[in-house]
């Protein structure tokens, strides 16, 4: 049919299709750029504000070097500007301690969770358990159901419990409760990960006379490493950002970065530069993780949900 169509009509048809294609592209890229702007503007705003002084804030300057001259004032108030970072100062020590607490609590909790969560995930994907009337499915559901628990339910009992255990305001206490909150997610990811590894792999090793543990440590774990990394990184992100428990269970020694950020938000007028510097410093590690380890986060988030 097209073979007999007049050349002019065909050309017109082509032009229409091309116009539709181009407009489609424009819409798609326009939407992409629009959402990229929405996602990035708050971060851009925070980073640039940390280099402003009062007058730049009140006049609403937006672009460094073009409508204002960057200044280290905000970073100096944290003791993190180039001229103060190597001097000991109370503000710098305060920040460093909070930072260290956040690192210890989130990395520690994630490590513990990945170790015991991987063991449990492997057990649940390979063996058949019977625990009274409970089978594997029920045990998995028990772990997963912990996700539903809102932090407020555990908060007060833990406050009382930790007081008796002398764990209040300690990193260990925070680490334990963070482990509890990320453990269901880790088990979920790891069970999925081990489930995707064929059993034949260990069976061959077991027939060769390896013990269950050798087979697990030498043969299965290396294959499951990407899943473990994904679980670990996702856990670190969740623990790093946790605020509720940290706010209730710590007071001075074990305070983490989010608590420090929160405690400063109310206490100033337009002292925005130091708040912006603090926020930037608090989100920077995660922004770096997000840029370089994005695929592990995606892997962790999508484990088991898409089949």
């Amino acid at each position: 049919m097209t073979a007999v169509a007049p050349v002019a009509a065909r050309r017109k048809d082509d032009a229409a299709r091309r116009a539709r294609y181009v407009s489609g592209r424009v819409v798609i890229y326009g939407a992409l750029i629009f959402w990229a702007f929405i996602s990035l503007f708050p971060i851009y705003w925070t980073v640039t504000t940390s280099f402003k002084v009062a007058v730049d804030v009140t006049q609403g300057h937006l672009i460094p070097w073009i409508d204002y001259t960057p200044s280290w004032k905000g970073w100096r108030s944290l003791g993190l500007s180039p001229d103060t970072i190597f001097q000991t100062s109370t503000v710098r020590d305060e920040f460093m301690q909070r930072f260290e607490n956040s690192v210890l609590a989130s990395v520690g909790a994630s490590l513990v969770a990945v170790i015991i969560g991987s063991l449990a995930g492997y057990g649940l994907s390979r063996f058949e358990y019977k625990f009274g009337p409970w089978r594997n499915k029920d045990i998995s559901f028990f772990f997963l159901s912990q996700l539903i628990l809102p932090p407020v339910v555990l908060a007060m009992p833990f406050l009382a419990l930790y007081k008796e255990l002398a764990l209040l305001d300690s990193i260990v206490g925070l680490l334990l409760i963070y482990t509890l909150t990320v453990l269901p997610i880790v088990i979920w990811i790891m069970r999925d990960q081990f489930g995707s590894i064929p059993r034949e792999l260990e069976e061959a090793a077991l027939i060769d006379g390896c013990s269950i543990w050798t087979a697990f440590l030498r043969i299965v774990l290396p294959v499951a490493l990407p899943g473990m990394v994904a679980a670990f990184i996702l856990s670190v992100v969740l623990c790093w950002n946790e605020y509720f428990f940290a706010a209730l269970l710590t007071s001075s020694d074990a305070k983490t970065l989010p608590v420090m950020v929160a405690s400063q938000t109310g206490s100033q007028g337009i002292n925005w530069w130091s708040m912006a510097a603090l926020s930037t410093a608090a989100i920077a590690p995660l922004a770096i993780i997000g840029i370089f380890l994005e695929r592990y986060i995606v892997k962790g988030l999508t484990a088991g949900s898409v089949k």
């Binding site: 939407a31 992409l32 959402w35 990229a36 929405i38 996602s39 708050p42 705003w45 009140t58 015991i116 449990a120 057990g123 063996f127 058949e128 019977k130 045990i139 772990f143 912990q146 996700l147 539903i148 628990l149 809102p150 407020v152 339910v153 908060a155 007060m156 009992p157 009382a160 419990l161 008796e164 255990l165 002398a166 334990l176 069976e203 077991l206 027939i207 269950i212 992100v237 950002n241 605020y243 509720f244 706010a247 989010p258 608590v259 950020v261 929160a262 938000t265 925005w272 708040m275 926020s279 608090a282 989100i283 995660l286 997000g290 986060i297 995606v298 988030l301 999508t302 949900s305 898409v306």
Partner: protein, 372 residues
């Protein structure tokens, strides 16, 4: 004791036949028994000291914690000693199980006890059992019910998040250049701590004097761009911030679902002359239903815990319009030290959540079965 974790033998695992001597079995049982007795003794001693019956014991309960850890290790070791190779699987599961049980079961029961007391940290008389007073106060507390109603709005907002996230996932799944770049950028808000976001967006970008969005709104003709002054605008602002942080989560799940779709079906639809719009509603959307449901249900479960942003931006204001249950209970603890009542609210909320989520899961699975 060996029935604690009876194990049906998994035939797919060829376990070498392996004889366990009676002596070893005895030793295993003895170990568990000894550890249990020791744990019980330390617990009892500390309990007697706590109620003032005796002076011996430890200054705090920490030794009981150590005793629990030792008991757990003995229990696991005992499993292996008694049942040999067939006890090994218990070693995989027990650490996580014992940890979760210790961390959840005890606080839950202790919380139930606190919930029926008039414990206030600032009162000098300590805590007393006060029966159903807290429950009665709860039913009369209009602020609590207001927070529950707000939660309904916040949960409904998840559907809007879902719609936006779906659009973004479709965009990322289209044939575009720089897909990886856009994926990283779109995921960014999810990485940031809600507390930092509270300041970055709530307290500075939306600030009514100098915030860039406020200035922009002023340009557009809104004279006094106050984002947290009137109830509905404040609620919408909180929802927008929450959406900003959580849309990436839904988007990533949906994107993975889209990438797993069978390409031939969509190709066939294209060949048959379906427009993009038709093939989306007739093919993509129905095929995406299971993933969508997972994403929305998970997101709702997380949404029910929403607190950080509200606590740090509005503290529930104006007049409780943005309050979530969690932020309301948080203030009950923090500002009024009302531990007994706050815990009752939390336990009551937990019951509501459990009912709501199981209803949601049942409806979802029933609906899925009807659709597919």
């Amino acid at each position: 004791m060996e029935t604690i974790l009876a194990l049906t033998r998994d035939d797919r695992h060829p376990v070498a036949s392996y004889h366990i001597s009676a002596g070893r079995r005895q030793a295993g049982r003895g170990l568990i028994l000894l550890a249990s007795l020791g744990f019980a003794a330390i617990f009892l001693l500390q309990f007697l000291r706590a109620i003032g019956e005796t002076d011996i014991g430890f200054a705090n309960w920490r030794p009981v914690l150590y005793a629990y850890v030792i008991w757990s290790i003995a229990l696991i070791a005992g499993q292996v000693m008694i049942r040999g190779e067939r006890g090994q699987p218990a070693v995989f599961l027990l650490p996580a199980l014992l940890f979760t049980i210790a961390m959840v079961i005890f606080p839950t029961f202790f919380g139930l006890y606190i919930a029926f007391t008039d414990w206030n940290l600032s009162s000098l008389t300590g805590r007393h059992f006060n029966g159903l007073d807290n429950l009665r106060a709860l039913f009369a507390d209009s602020y609590f019910w207001n927070a529950i109603v707000n939660m309904a709005y916040y949960v409904l907002a998840v559907l809007v998040q879902y719609a936006i996230a779906f659009a973004l996932a479709l965009l990322l799944n289209a044939e575009i250049r720089g897909r990886k770049f856009f994926r990283v950028v779109f995921l960014m808000p999810f990485m940031l701590s809600p507390v930092a976001v509270s300041w970055m967006i709530g307290k500075s970008i939306l600030e009514y004097r100098f915030g860039p969005v406020a200035s922009f709104a002023r340009e557009l003709g809104w004279d006094i761009p106050a984002f947290f002054a009137s109830p509905w605008i404040a609620r919408a602002s909180i929802m927008a911030m929450d959406a900003w942080v959580s849309i990436p989560f839904i988007m990533i799940l949906l994107l993975a679902g889209l990438q797993a779709l069978p390409g031939e079906v969509l190709e066939a639809a294209k060949v048959d002359g379906a427009t993009g719009w038709q093939s989306f509603w007739k093919i993509t959307f129905p095929l995406m239903l299971p993933v969508s449901l997972t994403a929305v249900v998970l997101r709702i479960i997380f949404e029910l815990k929403l607190a950080d942003i509200v606590i740090n931006v509005t503290a529930g204001g104006p007049g409780g319009a943005t309050d979530t249950v969690s932020s309301f209970i948080y203030r009950e603890y923090r500002d009024r030290s009302n531990v007994g009542y706050g815990t009752m609210l939390a336990e009551f909320y937990l019951v509501i959540i459990i009912i709501f989520v199981s209803l949601l899961l049942t409806l979802a699975s029933r609906w899925m079965r009807r659709v597919t």
